[in-house]
Homo-oligomer: 248 residues x 2
Protein backbone atom coordinates (compact mmCIF):
# COMPACT_ATOMS: atom_id res chain seq x y z
CA UNK A 1 0.00 0.00 0.00
CA UNK A 2 1.69 3.18 -1.13
CA UNK A 3 1.39 6.30 0.99
CA UNK A 4 2.58 9.81 0.25
CA UNK A 5 2.81 12.72 2.65
CA UNK A 6 0.89 15.95 2.11
CA UNK A 7 2.00 17.85 -0.94
CA UNK A 8 0.41 15.99 -3.82
CA UNK A 9 -2.18 17.91 -5.80
CA UNK A 10 -5.60 16.83 -6.84
CA UNK A 11 -6.51 19.83 -8.94
CA UNK A 12 -7.46 17.77 -12.01
CA UNK A 13 -10.27 15.54 -10.74
CA UNK A 14 -11.30 18.15 -8.19
CA UNK A 15 -11.71 21.01 -10.65
CA UNK A 16 -13.48 18.70 -13.05
CA UNK A 17 -15.83 17.49 -10.37
CA UNK A 18 -16.73 20.91 -8.95
CA UNK A 19 -16.59 22.70 -12.28
CA UNK A 20 -19.15 20.30 -13.70
CA UNK A 21 -21.93 22.03 -11.76
CA UNK A 22 -20.87 25.67 -11.89
CA UNK A 23 -18.18 27.78 -13.54
CA UNK A 24 -14.94 28.19 -11.54
CA UNK A 25 -12.97 31.45 -11.55
CA UNK A 26 -9.19 31.60 -11.78
CA UNK A 27 -9.09 32.44 -8.10
CA UNK A 28 -11.28 29.42 -7.32
CA UNK A 29 -8.86 27.21 -9.20
CA UNK A 30 -5.84 28.69 -7.42
CA UNK A 31 -7.47 28.09 -4.04
CA UNK A 32 -8.32 24.51 -4.91
CA UNK A 33 -4.76 24.02 -6.05
CA UNK A 34 -3.58 25.20 -2.64
CA UNK A 35 -5.26 22.26 -0.91
CA UNK A 36 -2.57 19.81 0.19
CA UNK A 37 -3.35 16.16 -0.42
CA UNK A 38 -1.68 12.99 0.70
CA UNK A 39 -2.28 10.07 -1.62
CA UNK A 40 -2.81 6.50 -0.61
CA UNK A 41 -3.67 3.32 -2.50
CA UNK A 42 -6.10 0.66 -1.30
CA UNK A 43 -6.89 -2.86 -2.39
CA UNK A 44 -10.35 -4.26 -2.98
CA UNK A 45 -12.33 -4.43 0.23
CA UNK A 46 -9.88 -2.41 2.33
CA UNK A 47 -11.43 -0.17 4.94
CA UNK A 48 -10.73 3.51 4.35
CA UNK A 49 -12.65 4.91 7.32
CA UNK A 50 -14.11 2.87 10.17
CA UNK A 51 -17.65 3.49 11.33
CA UNK A 52 -17.85 5.81 14.34
CA UNK A 53 -14.32 7.08 13.82
CA UNK A 54 -13.41 10.77 13.80
CA UNK A 55 -11.30 11.19 10.66
CA UNK A 56 -10.15 14.83 10.72
CA UNK A 57 -9.60 14.57 6.99
CA UNK A 58 -11.85 14.33 4.01
CA UNK A 59 -11.09 12.09 1.16
CA UNK A 60 -11.30 12.51 -2.59
CA UNK A 61 -11.56 9.48 -4.83
CA UNK A 62 -8.77 9.80 -7.39
CA UNK A 63 -9.07 6.44 -9.11
CA UNK A 64 -11.26 3.37 -8.64
CA UNK A 65 -14.48 3.04 -6.66
CA UNK A 66 -15.36 3.35 -3.00
CA UNK A 67 -18.50 2.66 -1.02
CA UNK A 68 -20.17 4.00 2.06
CA UNK A 69 -21.53 1.07 3.98
CA UNK A 70 -23.70 0.72 7.04
CA UNK A 71 -23.11 -2.41 9.07
CA UNK A 72 -25.91 -4.24 10.82
CA UNK A 73 -25.66 -6.06 14.11
CA UNK A 74 -26.03 -9.44 12.43
CA UNK A 75 -23.03 -8.80 10.17
CA UNK A 76 -25.11 -7.82 7.16
CA UNK A 77 -24.00 -4.78 5.19
CA UNK A 78 -25.86 -2.24 3.13
CA UNK A 79 -24.00 -0.02 0.72
CA UNK A 80 -25.55 3.45 0.86
CA UNK A 81 -23.41 5.12 -1.77
CA UNK A 82 -20.97 4.29 -4.52
CA UNK A 83 -18.37 6.98 -4.98
CA UNK A 84 -16.52 7.47 -8.22
CA UNK A 85 -13.39 9.43 -9.15
CA UNK A 86 -13.86 13.11 -8.35
CA UNK A 87 -16.31 12.44 -5.51
CA UNK A 88 -15.56 13.79 -2.06
CA UNK A 89 -16.21 11.46 0.83
CA UNK A 90 -17.05 12.49 4.34
CA UNK A 91 -17.52 16.14 3.81
CA UNK A 92 -20.27 15.54 6.35
CA UNK A 93 -17.58 14.70 8.90
CA UNK A 94 -16.56 18.37 8.70
CA UNK A 95 -19.66 19.09 10.74
CA UNK A 96 -20.52 15.79 12.35
CA UNK A 97 -16.94 15.10 13.50
CA UNK A 98 -17.87 11.44 13.96
CA UNK A 99 -18.97 9.39 10.97
CA UNK A 100 -21.81 6.93 11.27
CA UNK A 101 -20.81 4.57 8.47
CA UNK A 102 -17.75 2.81 7.11
CA UNK A 103 -15.96 3.55 3.86
CA UNK A 104 -14.50 0.69 1.85
CA UNK A 105 -12.57 0.38 -1.38
CA UNK A 106 -14.93 -1.42 -3.76
CA UNK A 107 -12.08 -1.94 -6.22
CA UNK A 108 -8.39 -1.18 -5.97
CA UNK A 109 -8.36 2.57 -5.70
CA UNK A 110 -6.38 5.68 -4.89
CA UNK A 111 -7.64 8.24 -2.42
CA UNK A 112 -6.45 11.76 -1.72
CA UNK A 113 -6.79 13.03 1.87
CA UNK A 114 -6.93 16.68 2.85
CA UNK A 115 -7.34 18.01 6.40
CA UNK A 116 -10.65 19.50 7.49
CA UNK A 117 -8.73 22.56 8.62
CA UNK A 118 -7.66 23.24 5.02
CA UNK A 119 -11.16 22.74 3.70
CA UNK A 120 -12.48 25.24 6.25
CA UNK A 121 -9.83 27.71 5.16
CA UNK A 122 -10.93 27.37 1.53
CA UNK A 123 -14.56 27.77 2.58
CA UNK A 124 -13.73 30.94 4.48
CA UNK A 125 -11.71 32.44 1.66
CA UNK A 126 -14.16 31.56 -1.10
CA UNK A 127 -17.77 31.17 -0.03
CA UNK A 128 -18.58 30.15 -3.58
CA UNK A 129 -16.29 27.12 -3.31
CA UNK A 130 -17.78 26.38 0.08
CA UNK A 131 -21.19 26.26 -1.55
CA UNK A 132 -19.90 23.87 -4.20
CA UNK A 133 -18.53 21.56 -1.54
CA UNK A 134 -21.90 21.57 0.17
CA UNK A 135 -23.54 21.05 -3.16
CA UNK A 136 -21.76 17.75 -3.47
CA UNK A 137 -23.23 16.69 -0.10
CA UNK A 138 -26.65 17.73 -1.25
CA UNK A 139 -26.37 15.79 -4.49
CA UNK A 140 -25.24 12.73 -2.55
CA UNK A 141 -28.40 13.12 -0.49
CA UNK A 142 -30.51 13.37 -3.65
CA UNK A 143 -28.99 10.12 -4.89
CA UNK A 144 -29.68 8.51 -1.53
CA UNK A 145 -33.33 9.49 -1.83
CA UNK A 146 -33.60 7.77 -5.18
CA UNK A 147 -31.86 4.73 -3.73
CA UNK A 148 -34.47 4.64 -0.98
CA UNK A 149 -37.09 4.43 -3.71
CA UNK A 150 -35.09 1.70 -5.40
CA UNK A 151 -34.92 -0.40 -2.25
CA UNK A 152 -38.46 0.26 -1.11
CA UNK A 153 -40.47 0.21 -4.27
CA UNK A 154 -38.63 -1.63 -7.00
CA UNK A 155 -38.12 -5.24 -7.80
CA UNK A 156 -34.45 -6.14 -7.54
CA UNK A 157 -34.28 -6.55 -11.32
CA UNK A 158 -35.46 -3.03 -11.99
CA UNK A 159 -33.22 -1.80 -9.17
CA UNK A 160 -30.23 -3.34 -10.93
CA UNK A 161 -31.18 -1.78 -14.25
CA UNK A 162 -31.62 1.59 -12.56
CA UNK A 163 -28.22 1.34 -10.89
CA UNK A 164 -26.54 0.70 -14.22
CA UNK A 165 -28.19 3.74 -15.81
CA UNK A 166 -27.11 5.93 -12.89
CA UNK A 167 -23.54 4.67 -12.86
CA UNK A 168 -23.14 5.15 -16.57
CA UNK A 169 -24.24 8.78 -16.48
CA UNK A 170 -22.12 9.57 -13.43
CA UNK A 171 -19.06 7.95 -14.94
CA UNK A 172 -19.62 9.63 -18.27
CA UNK A 173 -19.82 12.97 -16.48
CA UNK A 174 -16.61 12.12 -14.65
CA UNK A 175 -14.98 11.46 -18.00
CA UNK A 176 -14.23 7.79 -17.42
CA UNK A 177 -17.00 6.17 -19.43
CA UNK A 178 -18.27 6.70 -22.94
CA UNK A 179 -20.09 4.94 -25.74
CA UNK A 180 -22.30 3.18 -23.19
CA UNK A 181 -19.49 1.07 -21.78
CA UNK A 182 -17.61 1.22 -18.51
CA UNK A 183 -15.42 -0.85 -16.27
CA UNK A 184 -16.94 -1.71 -12.93
CA UNK A 185 -15.07 -4.67 -11.55
CA UNK A 186 -16.90 -5.39 -8.31
CA UNK A 187 -17.89 -8.88 -7.18
CA UNK A 188 -21.45 -10.12 -7.14
CA UNK A 189 -21.17 -10.20 -3.37
CA UNK A 190 -20.49 -6.46 -3.35
CA UNK A 191 -23.29 -5.89 -5.84
CA UNK A 192 -25.66 -7.75 -3.55
CA UNK A 193 -24.71 -5.37 -0.73
CA UNK A 194 -25.73 -2.49 -2.96
CA UNK A 195 -29.00 -4.04 -4.09
CA UNK A 196 -30.00 -5.27 -0.64
CA UNK A 197 -30.53 -8.85 -1.74
CA UNK A 198 -28.56 -12.06 -1.32
CA UNK A 199 -25.65 -13.10 -3.48
CA UNK A 200 -27.63 -15.99 -4.95
CA UNK A 201 -30.45 -13.73 -5.96
CA UNK A 202 -28.07 -11.18 -7.42
CA UNK A 203 -26.53 -13.82 -9.61
CA UNK A 204 -29.96 -14.79 -10.91
CA UNK A 205 -31.20 -11.33 -11.70
CA UNK A 206 -27.93 -10.58 -13.48
CA UNK A 207 -28.68 -13.49 -15.76
CA UNK A 208 -32.24 -12.34 -16.23
CA UNK A 209 -31.04 -8.87 -17.13
CA UNK A 210 -28.52 -10.25 -19.62
CA UNK A 211 -31.33 -12.23 -21.19
CA UNK A 212 -33.21 -9.01 -21.95
CA UNK A 213 -30.41 -8.06 -24.31
CA UNK A 214 -30.48 -4.48 -23.05
CA UNK A 215 -27.18 -4.65 -21.20
CA UNK A 216 -24.40 -7.04 -20.38
CA UNK A 217 -22.24 -7.05 -17.24
CA UNK A 218 -19.51 -9.64 -17.20
CA UNK A 219 -15.88 -9.80 -16.17
CA UNK A 220 -16.05 -6.38 -14.59
CA UNK A 221 -17.23 -4.64 -17.72
CA UNK A 222 -20.68 -3.18 -18.34
CA UNK A 223 -21.90 -2.77 -21.90
CA UNK A 224 -25.25 -1.14 -22.48
CA UNK A 225 -26.61 -2.02 -25.90
CA UNK A 226 -29.79 0.03 -25.62
CA UNK A 227 -29.59 2.85 -23.11
CA UNK A 228 -33.05 4.16 -23.98
CA UNK A 229 -34.57 0.73 -23.58
CA UNK A 230 -32.73 0.17 -20.32
CA UNK A 231 -33.87 3.55 -18.98
CA UNK A 232 -37.45 2.76 -19.84
CA UNK A 233 -37.16 -0.70 -18.33
CA UNK A 234 -35.75 0.84 -15.13
CA UNK A 235 -38.04 3.87 -15.00
CA UNK A 236 -34.90 5.98 -14.90
CA UNK A 237 -35.15 9.79 -14.78
CA UNK A 238 -31.68 11.40 -14.61
CA UNK A 239 -32.76 14.75 -13.22
CA UNK A 240 -31.75 13.89 -9.65
CA UNK A 241 -28.12 13.72 -10.71
CA UNK A 242 -28.02 17.51 -11.34
CA UNK A 243 -25.66 17.06 -14.25
CA UNK A 244 -26.41 20.46 -15.75
CA UNK A 245 -24.11 23.37 -15.10
CA UNK A 246 -25.69 26.48 -13.54
CA UNK A 247 -24.86 29.27 -11.08
CA UNK A 248 -24.99 28.09 -7.46
Amino acid sequence: MSVSTYGARAIGPLARSLGRRDALSGRDLALLDSLPFRMRAYGRGDEVFAAHSTPGESCLVMEGFASRTVEMRDGGRQVTAVQVPGDFLDLDALLLHRIDHSVFALTPCTMGFTPHRELRRVQDQAPHLGRLLWLSCVIDAAIQRVWLGNLGRRTSLSHLAHLICELYLRLEAAGIARLFRFDFAITQQQLSEILGVTLTHTNRILQTLRATGLVDWEHGRVEISDFGGLSRFAGFDPRYLSLRRQPR
Copy 2:
Protein backbone atom coordinates in the same frame (compact mmCIF):
# COMPACT_ATOMS: atom_id res chain seq x y z
CA MET B 1 -56.40 26.61 4.70
CA SER B 2 -55.09 29.60 6.60
CA VAL B 3 -52.30 31.68 5.11
CA SER B 4 -50.39 34.57 6.61
CA THR B 5 -48.08 36.99 4.86
CA TYR B 6 -44.43 37.36 5.82
CA GLY B 7 -43.93 38.79 9.26
CA ALA B 8 -44.61 35.89 11.57
CA ARG B 9 -41.70 34.69 13.64
CA ALA B 10 -40.49 31.19 14.13
CA ILE B 11 -37.80 31.88 16.66
CA GLY B 12 -39.10 29.32 19.17
CA PRO B 13 -38.95 26.05 17.25
CA LEU B 14 -36.03 27.31 15.16
CA ALA B 15 -33.80 28.27 18.07
CA ARG B 16 -34.69 25.07 19.83
CA SER B 17 -33.91 23.01 16.76
CA LEU B 18 -30.57 24.63 15.93
CA GLY B 19 -29.59 25.22 19.56
CA ARG B 20 -29.97 21.52 20.25
CA ARG B 21 -26.70 20.77 18.44
CA ASP B 22 -24.56 23.75 19.36
CA ALA B 23 -24.77 26.80 21.60
CA LEU B 24 -26.31 29.93 20.03
CA SER B 25 -25.02 33.41 20.85
CA GLY B 26 -27.29 36.39 21.45
CA ARG B 27 -26.36 37.67 18.01
CA ASP B 28 -27.25 34.30 16.47
CA LEU B 29 -30.65 34.48 18.11
CA ALA B 30 -31.23 38.03 16.93
CA LEU B 31 -30.37 37.07 13.37
CA LEU B 32 -32.68 34.08 13.46
CA ASP B 33 -35.39 36.31 14.80
CA SER B 34 -34.90 38.59 11.80
CA LEU B 35 -35.95 35.83 9.40
CA PRO B 36 -39.43 36.66 8.11
CA PHE B 37 -41.82 33.71 7.92
CA ARG B 38 -45.23 33.33 6.38
CA MET B 39 -47.32 30.65 8.02
CA ARG B 40 -49.64 28.27 6.31
CA ALA B 41 -51.75 25.33 7.47
CA TYR B 42 -52.16 22.07 5.56
CA GLY B 43 -54.49 19.12 5.88
CA ARG B 44 -53.47 15.48 5.88
CA GLY B 45 -52.05 14.46 2.54
CA ASP B 46 -51.85 17.98 1.09
CA GLU B 47 -48.90 18.62 -1.19
CA VAL B 48 -46.54 21.28 0.17
CA PHE B 49 -43.98 21.19 -2.65
CA ALA B 50 -44.40 19.38 -5.94
CA ALA B 51 -41.61 17.22 -7.30
CA HIS B 52 -39.40 19.05 -9.80
CA SER B 53 -40.68 22.44 -8.74
CA THR B 54 -38.40 25.40 -7.93
CA PRO B 55 -39.67 26.68 -4.58
CA GLY B 56 -37.58 29.78 -3.85
CA GLU B 57 -38.47 29.35 -0.20
CA SER B 58 -37.51 26.89 2.45
CA CYS B 59 -39.98 25.60 4.89
CA LEU B 60 -39.86 24.97 8.62
CA VAL B 61 -42.27 22.50 10.19
CA MET B 62 -44.01 24.38 13.02
CA GLU B 63 -46.57 21.79 14.01
CA GLY B 64 -47.53 18.33 12.77
CA PHE B 65 -45.57 16.01 10.49
CA ALA B 66 -44.44 16.22 6.89
CA SER B 67 -42.83 13.73 4.54
CA ARG B 68 -40.45 13.83 1.64
CA THR B 69 -41.69 11.38 -0.92
CA VAL B 70 -40.34 10.05 -4.18
CA GLU B 71 -42.95 9.01 -6.68
CA MET B 72 -42.48 6.05 -8.99
CA ARG B 73 -43.74 5.75 -12.52
CA ASP B 74 -46.28 3.10 -11.53
CA GLY B 75 -47.86 5.39 -8.94
CA GLY B 76 -46.06 3.81 -6.00
CA ARG B 77 -44.56 6.14 -3.43
CA GLN B 78 -41.63 5.85 -1.09
CA VAL B 79 -41.30 8.19 1.85
CA THR B 80 -37.63 9.11 2.22
CA ALA B 81 -37.92 11.28 5.31
CA VAL B 82 -40.35 12.15 8.06
CA GLN B 83 -39.93 15.72 9.25
CA VAL B 84 -41.01 16.82 12.68
CA PRO B 85 -41.55 20.26 14.24
CA GLY B 86 -38.34 22.26 14.12
CA ASP B 87 -37.05 20.50 11.00
CA PHE B 88 -36.16 22.55 7.96
CA LEU B 89 -37.29 21.17 4.64
CA ASP B 90 -35.64 21.80 1.33
CA LEU B 91 -32.59 23.56 2.49
CA ASP B 92 -31.09 21.54 -0.36
CA ALA B 93 -33.19 23.59 -2.75
CA LEU B 94 -31.01 26.56 -1.76
CA LEU B 95 -28.31 24.98 -3.91
CA LEU B 96 -30.19 22.62 -6.18
CA HIS B 97 -32.85 25.20 -7.12
CA ARG B 98 -35.05 22.36 -8.35
CA ILE B 99 -36.24 19.70 -5.92
CA ASP B 100 -36.33 16.07 -6.95
CA HIS B 101 -39.03 14.90 -4.58
CA SER B 102 -42.44 15.95 -3.29
CA VAL B 103 -43.28 17.16 0.18
CA PHE B 104 -46.59 16.18 1.73
CA ALA B 105 -48.34 16.87 4.99
CA LEU B 106 -48.47 13.51 6.77
CA THR B 107 -50.88 14.93 9.33
CA PRO B 108 -52.60 18.30 9.56
CA CYS B 109 -49.69 20.64 10.02
CA THR B 110 -48.46 24.21 10.01
CA MET B 111 -45.46 25.26 7.97
CA GLY B 112 -43.42 28.44 8.05
CA PHE B 113 -41.89 29.63 4.78
CA THR B 114 -38.88 31.91 4.50
CA PRO B 115 -37.25 33.07 1.24
CA HIS B 116 -33.93 31.61 0.16
CA ARG B 117 -32.67 35.16 -0.17
CA GLU B 118 -33.14 35.72 3.57
CA LEU B 119 -31.46 32.45 4.44
CA ARG B 120 -28.46 33.43 2.31
CA ARG B 121 -28.32 36.76 4.10
CA VAL B 122 -28.22 35.02 7.48
CA GLN B 123 -25.54 32.65 6.20
CA ASP B 124 -23.44 35.56 5.01
CA GLN B 125 -23.81 37.50 8.25
CA ALA B 126 -23.21 34.55 10.56
CA PRO B 127 -21.15 31.71 9.10
CA HIS B 128 -21.76 29.81 12.30
CA LEU B 129 -25.51 29.80 11.67
CA GLY B 130 -24.84 28.83 8.07
CA ARG B 131 -22.94 25.82 9.34
CA LEU B 132 -25.84 24.88 11.59
CA LEU B 133 -28.24 25.03 8.66
CA TRP B 134 -25.95 22.76 6.70
CA LEU B 135 -25.64 20.56 9.70
CA SER B 136 -29.34 19.88 9.53
CA CYS B 137 -28.92 18.75 5.89
CA VAL B 138 -26.08 16.50 6.91
CA ILE B 139 -28.06 14.93 9.73
CA ASP B 140 -30.95 14.33 7.36
CA ALA B 141 -28.48 12.51 5.13
CA ALA B 142 -27.26 10.42 8.07
CA ILE B 143 -30.84 9.42 8.82
CA GLN B 144 -31.34 8.54 5.16
CA ARG B 145 -28.33 6.23 5.32
CA VAL B 146 -29.81 4.37 8.25
CA TRP B 147 -33.10 4.15 6.41
CA LEU B 148 -31.29 2.59 3.46
CA GLY B 149 -30.06 -0.08 5.85
CA ASN B 150 -33.59 -0.50 7.19
CA LEU B 151 -35.02 -1.04 3.72
CA GLY B 152 -32.20 -3.17 2.42
CA ARG B 153 -31.27 -5.37 5.33
CA ARG B 154 -34.08 -5.57 7.83
CA THR B 155 -37.26 -7.51 7.99
CA SER B 156 -40.22 -5.17 7.87
CA LEU B 157 -41.01 -5.98 11.50
CA SER B 158 -37.61 -4.87 12.74
CA HIS B 159 -37.82 -1.87 10.41
CA LEU B 160 -41.04 -0.82 12.07
CA ALA B 161 -39.55 -1.21 15.54
CA HIS B 162 -36.51 0.80 14.48
CA LEU B 163 -38.67 3.57 13.10
CA ILE B 164 -40.54 3.87 16.37
CA CYS B 165 -37.30 4.13 18.36
CA GLU B 166 -36.02 6.84 16.02
CA LEU B 167 -39.22 8.84 16.06
CA TYR B 168 -39.44 8.76 19.81
CA LEU B 169 -35.94 10.11 20.32
CA ARG B 170 -36.38 12.79 17.68
CA LEU B 171 -39.68 13.91 19.13
CA GLU B 172 -38.36 13.86 22.64
CA ALA B 173 -35.47 16.05 21.51
CA ALA B 174 -37.98 18.38 19.85
CA GLY B 175 -39.82 18.62 23.15
CA ILE B 176 -43.07 17.09 21.94
CA ALA B 177 -42.78 13.60 23.36
CA ARG B 178 -41.91 12.29 26.77
CA LEU B 179 -42.39 9.28 29.01
CA PHE B 180 -42.14 6.98 25.98
CA ARG B 181 -45.39 8.15 24.48
CA PHE B 182 -46.14 10.30 21.45
CA ASP B 183 -48.91 11.15 19.04
CA PHE B 184 -48.29 10.08 15.48
CA ALA B 185 -51.62 9.98 13.73
CA ILE B 186 -50.73 8.73 10.27
CA THR B 187 -52.71 6.07 8.43
CA GLN B 188 -51.44 2.56 7.84
CA GLN B 189 -51.31 3.44 4.16
CA GLN B 190 -48.84 6.23 4.91
CA LEU B 191 -46.88 3.95 7.21
CA SER B 192 -46.62 1.41 4.41
CA GLU B 193 -45.11 4.12 2.20
CA ILE B 194 -42.45 4.66 4.84
CA LEU B 195 -41.71 0.98 5.37
CA GLY B 196 -41.70 0.11 1.67
CA VAL B 197 -44.25 -2.69 2.01
CA THR B 198 -47.92 -3.03 1.15
CA LEU B 199 -50.75 -1.81 3.30
CA THR B 200 -51.89 -5.36 4.02
CA HIS B 201 -48.46 -6.37 5.23
CA THR B 202 -48.13 -3.24 7.33
CA ASN B 203 -51.35 -4.05 9.09
CA ARG B 204 -50.06 -7.54 9.88
CA ILE B 205 -46.69 -6.55 11.23
CA LEU B 206 -48.32 -3.90 13.38
CA GLN B 207 -50.33 -6.66 14.99
CA THR B 208 -47.24 -8.80 15.40
CA LEU B 209 -45.39 -5.94 17.03
CA ARG B 210 -48.27 -5.29 19.41
CA ALA B 211 -48.20 -8.95 20.34
CA THR B 212 -44.59 -8.60 21.52
CA GLY B 213 -45.85 -6.29 24.26
CA LEU B 214 -42.92 -3.94 23.69
CA VAL B 215 -44.95 -1.15 22.13
CA ASP B 216 -48.46 -0.30 21.09
CA TRP B 217 -49.52 1.94 18.21
CA GLU B 218 -53.22 2.50 17.90
CA HIS B 219 -55.53 5.40 17.18
CA GLY B 220 -52.63 7.65 16.29
CA ARG B 221 -50.83 7.19 19.58
CA VAL B 222 -47.60 5.30 20.17
CA GLU B 223 -46.87 3.93 23.62
CA ILE B 224 -43.57 2.22 24.22
CA SER B 225 -43.73 0.00 27.27
CA ASP B 226 -40.11 -1.17 27.11
CA PHE B 227 -37.81 1.16 25.22
CA GLY B 228 -34.71 -0.88 26.02
CA GLY B 229 -36.37 -4.06 24.84
CA LEU B 230 -37.66 -2.37 21.71
CA SER B 231 -34.21 -0.95 20.95
CA ARG B 232 -32.64 -4.37 21.32
CA PHE B 233 -35.35 -5.95 19.22
CA ALA B 234 -34.74 -3.35 16.51
CA GLY B 235 -30.96 -3.25 16.74
CA PHE B 236 -31.28 0.48 17.31
CA ASP B 237 -28.15 2.59 17.88
CA PRO B 238 -29.07 6.29 18.31
CA ARG B 239 -25.67 7.74 17.49
CA TYR B 240 -26.65 8.66 13.93
CA LEU B 241 -29.16 11.18 15.26
CA SER B 242 -26.34 13.43 16.61
CA LEU B 243 -28.44 14.44 19.57
CA ARG B 244 -25.46 15.62 21.62
CA ARG B 245 -24.61 19.28 21.75
CA GLN B 246 -21.07 20.24 20.65
CA PRO B 247 -19.23 23.03 18.84
CA ARG B 248 -19.70 22.87 15.07
